[in-house]
Amino acid sequence: MKTADPVQRDHRDAQWTARSIGTHFGHKFFYLLIRFGGRQTAYFFLSFVVIFYVFFTPSIRKKADYYLSRRFKGKHFPGRLADSYRIYLNLGKALIDRAVIGILGEGKMNIEFRKQEELLNLLKEGRGMVLMTAHVGCWQTAMATLRFLNVPVHLLMQREDGDIDLHYYEHAGIPCPYRIIDPRGYMGGVLEMIGVLKKGEVICVMGDRLLGSVKGAATVDFLGGKVLFPFSAFKIASATGTPVAVLLSHKSSPAGYVLEVARVIRVPRDAGKSEKDFSSYVSEFAQALELYTEAHPYQFFNFYNMWEGHLRNQ
C-alpha cells in the first residue's frame, strides 16, 4: 500500500510561498501610477519602496541572501546589500512590466521571441509540448506572446489565498488566454495534463519549484549545492512522448524582454518510474537555469532556501 499523494497532499513540503510582498493598497497605488504616469513613474516610486524593504526589513533581505550567497560567494556587507537592492528592484520592475502589458497593452513593451521556429517544429511532431520555465525574468511576458503557437496553452499554477498580484490579463480585463490547471485538483492535475498533451496542446510548468511533497522531486546540483526540483513533468513527457522546451525570459532593456528556448530536453518513452530515472533530465533543466544565472544574475527570483529542502528527502 502507499500513502500520501505527492502532489495532492496538503503541500506541507513546499518551502516557498507565492504570496505577494506588500499590501493591497500598495499594489493598487502602483497600478494607478502605471495607468496615469506610465512605466517610468512607477519605476521611480519603486526604487524608494525597495530601499525601505531592503534596508529596514532584514527578513526580506535574508530571503534574497540564500541565492545571492551562492551566486556571489565571498561578498559581504555592503556589497550584499547592494545586490539585494538590485535583485528586488528587478523583481519589482518585472511585476510592473507585467502590469504594464495588461494595463497599457503589449505594445508598450518590446518582446523579442528567439527561436520561435524551434517551438513550432516541436509542435509539428504532434505530441504536444511541455514548456518548462522558471521564476526568472518575467515569465508572464512569455504567456502573453504564445499566441503564435496557434494551439491552446495550459498553465500548471497554484495560486495562493492572499496573493494580491494581478496577472496581465486581469489588468487588461480580458478572459484568461490560457487554461489554468490547479495542482491541487483531481490527481494533482496529472490526468488533465496527459489529456492536453494527447490533443497536441501545450502545457507550461515551472521547473524550479516543487508543488507538493518531496516524493515528486529529484535531487540535483544547482549553484554548488543540492536542490529539489520536480520531475513529474518529465515523467508525463515520457508517458506521452512529448518534448520539453526550456523557455526562459530576461529583461534586455528598460522596455524590452527576450524570450529564448534555452534547450530542448527529450525524455524517452518508458524512461522509468522513480526519481533516479528522471534526475538526469531534471539536471539538464538545472544546468540551463545555472547558465541563466551566470548571464542574468539579478533576474533570478526564488526567495527561499532552495538548498535546504534536499536534506528532508534523505
Binding site: D5, V7, M187, V190, L191, G216, S232, D270, K273
Partner: protein, 83 residues
C-alpha cells in the same frame, strides 16, 4: 488469466506495491487515496500500463476520472475500449 487478474498483477509489479497480493486488492476499493493508496505519480504509470498492456488510451480527464475509481471500473473501461 482474466483481465481483472492480469490488471491486479500488473498493478503490483509496475507500481511497486509492497506487501500486497492480487487477492488482497478489493475490486471495489478506491485505487487512489484511501484504499490502495495510489498517488498522482502512479496515475501516470497507470496510463502507461493501460496503453502498454491493454492497448487502451486514456484521452482525457473525464475518462480517467471515471475509469480510475476502482479495479472494477478499470476493468469495465478496458473491456469497453478493447471490443
Amino acid at each position: 488469466m482474466t483481465i481483472k487478474e492480469k490488471l491486479k498483477k500488473l498493478l503490483i509489479e509496475e507500481l511497486n506495491l509492497e506487501d500486497v497480493t492480487p487477492e488482497e486488492i478489493e475490486d471495489d476499493a478506491p485505487l487512489f487515496g484511501e484504499g490502495l493508496g495510489l498517488d498522482s505519480l502512479d496515475a501516470v504509470e497507470l496510463v502507461v500500463l493501460l496503453e502498454k498492456h491493454f492497448g487502451v488510451e486514456v484521452k482525457d480527464l473525464d475518462e480517467g476520472r471515471s475509469a480510475f475509481q476502482s479495479i472494477n471500473t478499470l476493468v469495465a473501461y478496458i473491456e469497453e475500449r478493447s471490443t
